[in-house]
């Protein structure tokens, strides 16, 4: 060894204070070869003071000491330089912006002098990596046996937990996406130790041949540090070298930048993304680069949205900025291309086999999503038992499908039922034995739900057996839909239902302006995960109503009680509740949805304001607030009658929540009130804004507040009030009454009894206030006329609101009070003070009471299912019209079909716009409007004369009237009356086209006159004399978008739609003058031609839609769980105070005596020990400290 810079050699020689060992001296260590190749260790530090001491100590502890050690300080702003200088004999400085590769170059140049001519190796070390003592030795052993290896890397393990693998070599897909070799938090059990050749290895602990490094020029300097190992590895491959990972050589790596533990550096994600794009561009075929650039720009947006959904707004910004950076600096990747080309010796395809497959990427992504859904902390920091429990917990497994409900689950569970709640497990670390016991209790808690679910599934299955056996297949395929007394067939697509619900134009009769029911929008949203078929959502809600109600009751009861029996009972009562049974039978989707949502909304609301029985002074939860807001939106869409009760409830619980914050003798309230108020505002604001059009309609017609969206069909709910109650509670009949009483009486008695108990009377009182509010709502509803049946503005029979939702609220309050009693029942019935006889008596009483309260709901369910559901529910084909008429109705002419049935003394009719009537055609707002319709003819006034002429057998030519109504077909339904057939046969222009067992169909042939069509259309172009010039294509809502030719003056566009101020029409963008022809909307057309666009202007302004979308996005984002960052990714502790380090200088007194490596493992550097969490869980309360399992 030369001695020009003897320091280095000396240091190198002195780095190992231990005597050199013989080949077989160390049991675990590789034999150290004294005459190995020359190795220069390079430690690059930048602001790494938090990690450097351990890194330097590890370097010093190598069994094979490097021949030279060079420290590079890349412009650190902390005392990294001092640490380096104190530990290493040679420290060079590099520019802060030089990057890793240039820093290494600087070090390499500085140490050139000592390098033997045959070259040597560079051992690259970061300031945040600590190699195991035998790391270098094992690396050298690997490279010595394989001369073709130019780069050899280490297995990287976690800085804090060396049982956890970070990576074993790095690979990407061909597209450049990183594919981790090891799963998240995989425990090192040697399972990856067989790997050798890889695409690249991490630069922490990388052993690289000096000459190769020089020829490659190091990693691409234009890359940030994020991806330089990939660049290096790939180019080394292309230069004809091997890149291997040596799993036996282990380095602990903090990945400080990526983990956010290195202050003052930019975003690692942005750098990573930018480098990935740059590498992709550099590696791609040259002609593809413009495509890739465009693609990167296009893909950035969905990627950013994805990050937003994952609630990582910073990363979303990074995605965009990274693409912009690539676009802004094309010179970078062009230089990268040139650099890669220069050193390439073998074809590109040689590296192909080292890329990861798409499949591996997908698997990794799946693991990411799974880790997101099941928070990382649960899987990483529990003893593993929690993870297993989670995997076997049906609720959690199910919750991955139901998204927000999973959140709610956690939110509700956080405090209420620690034995079942995963977050409770996070909050309390448990020894393994306790965790096992807890898991058993968790299963026990589930065991309260399982029997109830079984009972309700059996009841629903038995009760709906006829329906299920007849048409369940059709329901799945969408060929049939459910209809019932109060349920119309659902539209075939989510889009159609959404449009109907969000439009202000009701496509029934000849149309009318009225707001849609928000229930349609909710059903549309619910149907999205079901393949976009609303019929399935309705079927799931109705067929699965009982189990769903049992589940929601069970879930919500957890907010009050921890007793599994009480929760199971609550679920049972909730499923057997008379309002639910009645709603299922009559097909009232809204009432069913309200019943299922109500307990969840109530529980979420209580949670949002921190009201948890038995715990005072809790803050609210914004998550729960958004959850409550969304649930309230669903609830109010399904049952607007509960709006008043909801407002009262929000105000009341907010006041209670703020009061509960008060800790006597402190001023905590003022400071923490926003923690309750904000969630309450979220809970109130989300439904207020999402249902904005509905509130506008309510302002116009306040009776809508008691209307329900399940418009009554065949059922007449207009008897006495008691009839109304029974109608809402499962049908009139002695059995139904008895069953309803059997459910209600025990619940009411228990709930009233709760008021007498010393403890919990306050809860019971609150519950009874809710219950009485429900009762008042129900009474008001059945007293209020909310609308009338009919088509369009044609008023038929008036009907009142339904008591169902109000009764559900009554049941909620009473059940909550009753559950509070049952929860404490055990203590009541097992008083330790009582004697033996007293205990027996108490046990007997408990048994009798228990049997009574369970027998009621069970009996009601049995009666409901066994006696046959008093149901009008059935699965039918939704199309009423024959295919030919349906095609024309839903096609371009959008003609209507006059469907009629003539039986003795009664002629029924409807104007069909589509294949059949559909949910969403009508709305509660329109029904209410029929009570006092605006001026203008009703549908009856329009259609009855036509019917009289058609069926009156006068042989009258009624075609002009049919054309005005847009009627293209006339259909006669069975039972086909001969008179009617003869009359329709005798009507001029009506041609019988087809018939089947259930109907006969006539086509209306308009006499072809001029350019007019022989077919009817909903939009027609008339000349000044009223003759038809042409028919115009129109869409289902009556809108027109067509080209019209220039012609004479006086032309008019006539729509077979009711005139309304909302209609707008433009010709080439110029507004047309609206007019009306009787009841119909017309527009005067100028002589010029052009593109004619007619729209019903009653659709909501775009601003409203934008606001709604924004609110929904905020609410959903607020609801989504914060990905739990792993706690080991903690920020550095307070920087270690600078302390004097004994400088080891070249002119040391005794060059032969090595200065000791600094002992930095002292109590002032506890970084690898206990660390404070970076992102605390949102629970600020100090909980029991977590015990990290060894």
């Amino acid at each position: 060894m030369t001695t020009d810079l003897g320091v280095t050699t000396d240091v190198a020689a002195a780095a190992d204070p231990r005597p050199e060992q013989g080949p077989d001296s160390g049991s675990g260590d590789v034999c150290v070869q004294v005459t190995g190749p020359h190795v220069t260790a390079v430690v690059v530090a930048r602001d790494g003071a938090a990690f450097l001491p351990r890194a330097l100590a590890a370097l010093a502890g190598q069994t094979h000491r490097p021949d030279a050690v060079v420290g590079v300080d890349a412009g650190s702003r902390d005392d990294s330089a001092d640490l380096l200088a104190g530990a290493l004999p040679l420290v060079v400085r590099a520019d802060r912006r030089a990057g890793f590769s240039r820093s290494v170059d600087t070090a390499a140049e500085a140490s050139t002098a000592v390098v033997p001519p045959e070259g040597g190796w560079l051992w690259l070390l970061h300031d945040d990596c600590a190699p195991r003592p035998d790391a270098l030795a094992r690396l050298l052993a690997a490279v010595e046996t394989a001369p073709s290896v130019a780069l050899a890397g280490c297995k990287q393990v976690d800085w804090d937990d060396d049982q956890r693998i970070l990576d074993v070599g790095v690979t990407t897909t061909r597209g450049g996406a990183r594919v981790p070799v090891a799963d998240r938090d995989e425990v090192d059990q040697g399972q990856h130790d067989a790997r050798s050749d890889v695409l690249a290895v991490g630069t922490a602990g990388l052993l690289v041949r000096r000459d190769v490094w020089a020829r490659l020029g190091g990693a691409d300097p234009t890359l940030a540090h994020a991806r330089d190992e990939l660049d290096l590895g790939r180019r080394a491959h292309l230069a004809g070298h091997r890149v291997v990972v040596v799993p036996a050589a282990v380095v602990a790596h903090a990945s400080a930048w990526a983990a956010g533990r290195r202050p003052g550096t930019g975003s690692w994600w942005r750098a990573e993304r930018r480098d990935a794009l740059q590498q992709r561009l550099a590696a791609a075929f040259v002609l593809l680069t413009p495509v890739l650039l465009g693609w990167a720009l296009l893909a950035a947006v969905p990627r950013a949205v994805f990050q937003l959904v994952m609630r990582r707004p910073g990363r979303a910004l990074d995605e965009l900025l990274a693409v912009l950076a690539v676009w802004a600096r094309p010179d970078r990747w062009i230089r990268s291309r040139w650099r890669a080309r220069r050193t390439r010796a073998v074809p590109r395809r040689t590296v192909r086999s080292l890329y990861a497959s798409r499949w591996q990427l997908l698997r990794a992504r799946r693991d990411d999503v799974a880790a997101w859904i099941v928070p990382a902390s649960a899987t990483t920091e529990d003893d593993g038992g929690a993870a297993r429990r989670r995997a076997t917990d049906p609720l959690v497994v199910a919750s991955t499908d139901t998204g927000s409900l999973a959140v709610l689950y956690r939110e509700i569970y956080r405090d209420a039922a620690p034995e079942a709640g995963p977050t409770a497990e996070e909050a309390e670390a448990l020894p393994a034995a306790r965790a096992g016991a807890r898991a058993a209790r968790h299963r026990f808690a589930l065991s309260g739900l399982v029997p109830v679910l079984a009972v309700t599934v059996a009841a629903a299955g038995t009760g709906l057996w006829r329906l299920l056996s007849a048409g369940v297949g059709g329901l799945l395929t969408g060929s049939t839909t459910l209809v019932a007394a109060d349920l119309l067939p659902t539209p075939p697509t989510t889009r159609a239902l959404w449009q109907a619900a969000s439009s202000g134009w009701r496509p029934t009769g000849v149309g009318a302006a009225a707001a849609g029911d928000p229930l349609g929008a909710v059903l549309a949203a619910l149907s999205l995960p079901l393949g976009g078929v609303p019929g399935r959502a309705v079927a799931v809600l109705l067929v699965g109503a009982l189990p769903l109600a049992a589940w929601s009751g069970w879930l919500a009861a957890g907010a009050i009680t921890r007793s599994r029996a009480a929760r199971g009972w609550a679920g049972l009562v909730w499923a057997a509740c008379p309002p639910l049974l009645g709603a299922v039978g009559a097909g009232r989707v809204g009432a069913v949805l309200a019943h299922v949502t109500l307990p969840l909304a109530a529980a979420a609301l209580a949670r949002a304001v921190g009201l948890v029985p038995g715990r005072r002074g809790r803050r609210g939860s914004l998550h729960a607030g958004f959850g409550a807001g969304l649930l309230l939106t669903v609830l109010l869409a399904a049952a607007p009658g509960l709006a008043a009760a909801a407002v009262v409830a929000i105000v009341a619980v907010t006041v209670l929540g703020v009061r509960a914050l008060q800790v006597p003798g402190t001023a905590r309230t003022a400071r923490t009130a926003p923690a309750v108020l904000l969630p309450a505002v979220a809970a109130a604001g989300v439904p207020a804004l999402l249902l904005l059009p509905w509130w506008v309609a309510v302002a116009a017609s306040p009776r809508l507040l008691l209307a329900d969206p399940d418009l009554p069909g065949a059922t007449t709910g207009t008897g006495t009030v008691i009839d109304g109650f029974l109608d809402g509670s499962g049908g009139v009949g002695r059995l139904a009454v008895v069953a309803a009483l059997a459910v209600a009486v025990p619940v009411l008695l228990l709930g009233l009894g709760a008021l007498l108990r010393r403890s919990g009377a306050a809860v019971a009182a609150g519950a009874w206030v809710v219950a009485l509010a429900g009762l008042a709502t129900a009474l008001l509803a059945v007293r209020t006329t909310t609308g009338a049946t009919g088509a369009g503005l044609d008023a038929g029979r008036a009907f009142t609101g339904r008591p169902g939702p109000g009764l559900s609220l009554l049941a909620l309050g009473a059940t909550a009070a009753a559950v509070a009693v049952l929860q404490r029942g055990r203590s009541t019935f097992s008083s330790p003070r009582a004697g033996r006889a007293g205990r027996i008596a108490r046990a007997g009483a408990a048994g009798v009471l228990g049997a009574l309260v369970v027998a009621g709901p069970l009996g009601a369910l049995a009666a409901w299912s066994w006696h046959g559901v008093p149901t009008s529910l059935r699965a039918v084909e939704p199309a009423v019209l024959p295919p030919v008429a349906a095609a024309e109705a839903e096609g371009v002419p959008a003609s209507r079909t006059l469907v009629t049935r003539s039986v003795q003394g009664r002629v029924s009719w409807t104007l069909a716009r589509a294949a059949g009537p559909r949910l969403g055609d009508d709305s509660a707002a329109l029904a209410s409007r029929r009570l006092d319709p605006p001026a203008g003819p009703t549908e009856s006034a329009l259609v009855t004369p036509v019917l009289a002429a058609l069926l009156g057998d006068g042989g009258q030519d009624i075609r002009p009237a049919l054309a005005d109504l847009g009627v293209g077909y006339v259909q006669l339904l069975a039972p086909v009356a001969d008179d009617a057939v003869l009359a329709l046969d005798a009507s001029p222009g009506l041609v019988r086209v087809s018939q089947s067992a259930g109907w006969m169909l006539w086509r209306v042939d308009q006499a072809p006159a001029g350019a007019g069509s022989a077919r009817t259309a909903r939009a027609r172009l008339l000349d000044a004399s009223g003759a038809v010039l042409a028919t115009l294509p129109s869409d289902g809502a009556g809108g027109v978008d067509a080209r019209v030719a220039a012609a004479g003056a006086g032309r008019v566009v006539r729509l077979a739609e009711r005139a309304d101020d909302g209609w707008t029409a433009t010709l080439d963008g110029r507004d047309l003058v609206p007019g009306r022809d009787g009841w119909a909307q017309t527009f005067a057309l100028p002589p010029a031609g052009g593109r004619l666009v007619v729209r019903p202007g009653t659709t909501a302004p775009e601003l409203v839609g934008t606001v709604q979308g924004a609110v929904l996005a905020v609410a959903v984002l607020g609801l989504l769980p914060l990905p739990r960052l792993r706690r080991r990714l903690a920020p550095p502790g307070p920087p270690a105070p600078s302390r004097p380090v004994t400088r080891v200088v070249a002119d040391a007194a005794d060059p032969g005596e090595l200065p000791p490596m600094p002992q930095v493992f002292d109590e002032e550097h506890p970084e690898h020990g206990e660390v404070a969490p970076l992102f605390t869980d949102e629970e600020p309360e100090p909980g029991p400290t977590r015990e990290v399992p060894a």
Binding site: T718, L779, V899, W909, T910, E939, S940, G954, G955, D985
Partner: protein, 511 residues
């Protein structure tokens, strides 16, 4: 909370809740329909189904204009309307103070005419409007000598014409009239003594809108003495009349129109069989002989029929000689009426399967003497007020008095009928109440110049059904001319007034 407070709380909750519920049970529900009762419309009051169609002068409907027989005599259509206005061949009928309008229209042009009641106007009047029209044709000389009368009937989908013959010298023209504005297609099936006569030309006869076609039944099924014609409309409706004229050599054998019989039933009533007093008392045994009186029965069904024919006369029921016959499926048979006293009779035809029936009333002497006959057909009992018009007919020599005789038969219990005789200006000439003994036939002669008659069954019409016919005779030197017009209930138009209900759930299956 103290114990007392908790009890008070409980009491408050119970009080409020119970009070609310008990108050609610007392309140009636609020809903009341805003729109009132659903609208009602009048159906079938003005339409094709209510439009009587008169076939027009049959003699003008020869196949070609060249050999068309000249009109045998005057043809007139008389119409009566009660409770409504109407137009007869564009001539208005406006009811006067009595609520009735009468009009007699001489016919010279060919083609059918319709009596078109105005729609809806009668909505305010009590009861449904009544209409009636009868076509009368008289020829005292010529080949077509005779009196032919046919009630103008509304178009139907199914008609049975039980009468006529296609022997040599006899012509049977089927007149199919379609008053509707759309074309009708009909199938004509001729039944003979042996059953259905296959005739391809009878199938799918197109009757254009608002027009009339004639079909030669004697060409379809020649040389049959007893025929019955079944007319079935495939679509649309037609009025079918069979014009039967008989020329025995050069001697006129009489003319008459066969009107549609009642629908097939196991019991049929054929009113209006008037057996002339001596010297014509010796009725021929053969039904196809001139002057014969016979009941014709056809079996439409696929099963053989056993038919029994009785006669109800002035003194009650009387069985007919050879009155029990067996009919093959589809066959037609004539049961001659012999050996009965002169007087009015109504034939009661009973069978074990549904049959249709008609009857021919012949007048005529021996050979070389002109004969005459009139066809009558089975009818259903009159249960509601029914009108029958009697046209005033003016022949070349001035006014011709058509003598009308009303025959009323109580088919069940004794009945009484209010008979209102109307004069030429639709005024009421006379109102009588005629009592009819059970199972017997009563006779009521109408005054001269009567324009029509209105029957109103008194008492329970269903319990004491009455069938009626008007026998018209014109005295002539060469022998009496005769025609029979049965009273056909339902010929008077009525309308149903169904309620009209908008129902958006229509067609979604059971409710």
């Amino acid at each position: 909370m103290r114990w007392r407070d908790r009890v008070l709380l409980l009491g408050a909750v119970v009080l409020v809740g119970g009070g609310g519920v008990s108050a609610a049970t007392r309140w009636p529900a609020a809903a009341s329909p805003p729109g009132g009762t659903p609208p009602r419309i009048v159906l079938a009051a003005t339409g094709v189904a209510a439009t009587p169609v008169c076939p027009g002068p049959p003699t003008l409907l020869a196949p070609t204009g060249g050999d068309a027989s000249p009109p045998g005599g005057p043809v007139a259509v008389g119409a009566l309307v009660r409770g409504s206005t109407a137009t007869l061949a564009d001539r208005p009928l406006v009811p006067g103070s009595g609520g009735l309008a009468a009009l007699t229209l001489p016919r010279t042009a060919a083609g059918a005419v319709t009596l078109l009641p105005a729609g809806g106007a009668g909505g305010g009047a009590a009861g449904a409007p009544e209409v009636s029209a009868v076509q009368l044709e008289l020829a005292r000389t010529g080949d077509a000598r005779g009196l032919a009368a046919v009630p103008c009937a509304t178009a139907t989908t199914q008609s049975w014409l039980v009468g006529g013959g296609t022997q040599v010298g006899r012509r049977a023209r089927l007149l199919l009239a379609n008053p509707a504005p759309t074309a009708a297609t009909v199938d004509v099936v001729v039944h003979g003594p042996q059953g259905v006569v296959a005739a391809a030309r009878g199938a799918g006869v197109l009757v254009p809108a608002r027009s009339e076609v004639a079909l030669q039944v004697d060409a379809l099924a020649p040389d049959l003495a007893t025929v019955a014609v079944q007319v079935t409309a495939r679509n649309g409706r037609v009025t079918a009349v069979l014009h039967d004229s008989w020329l025995r050599g050069v001697t006129p054998g009489g003319v008459d129109d066969v009107s549609a019989a009642a629908a097939p039933a196991r019991t049929q009533w054929v009113p209006g069989i008037v057996v002339a007093p001596p010297p014509a008392a010796a009725l021929p045994d053969r039904a196809d002989a001139p002057g014969a009186v016979a009941v014709r029965v056809a079996n439409p069904g696929p099963d053989p029929a056993v038919v029994r024919v009785r006669l109800l006369g002035a003194d009650g029921s009387r069985p007919l000689d050879h009155g029990v016959v067996t009919l093959a499926p589809g066959a037609v048979v004539d049961v001659p009426v012999t050996g009965v006293p002169a007087g009015p009779w109504t034939a009661a035809v009973q069978a074990d399967v549904p049959v249709v029936a008609g009857a021919v009333v012949g007048r005529g002497g021996p050979a070389q003497q002109p004969a005459e006959f009139g066809w009558t057909s089975s009818v259903e009992p009159v249960t509601a007020p029914a009108l029958l018009a009697l046209p005033t007919l003016t022949d070349a020599g001035g006014r011709t008095d058509v003598e009308g005789t009303l025959l009323l038969t109580a088919t069940g219990a004794a009945a009484s009928v209010e008979v209102t005789e109307l004069d030429g200006r639709a005024g009421v000439a006379a109102v009588r109440t005629v009592a009819v003994a059970a199972g017997s036939t009563a006779v009521q002669r109408l005054g001269a110049g009567a324009a029509g008659v209105r029957l109103r069954p008194l008492g329970a019409g269903a319990a004491a059904p009455v069938v009626a016919a008007l026998v018209l005779t014109v005295a002539d030197d060469a022998g009496p001319l005769l025609a029979v017009v049965p009273f056909r209930p339902g010929a008077s138009g009525g309308g149903s007034r169904p309620e009209v209900v908008a129902d958006v759930r229509l067609g979604l299956g059971g409710r």
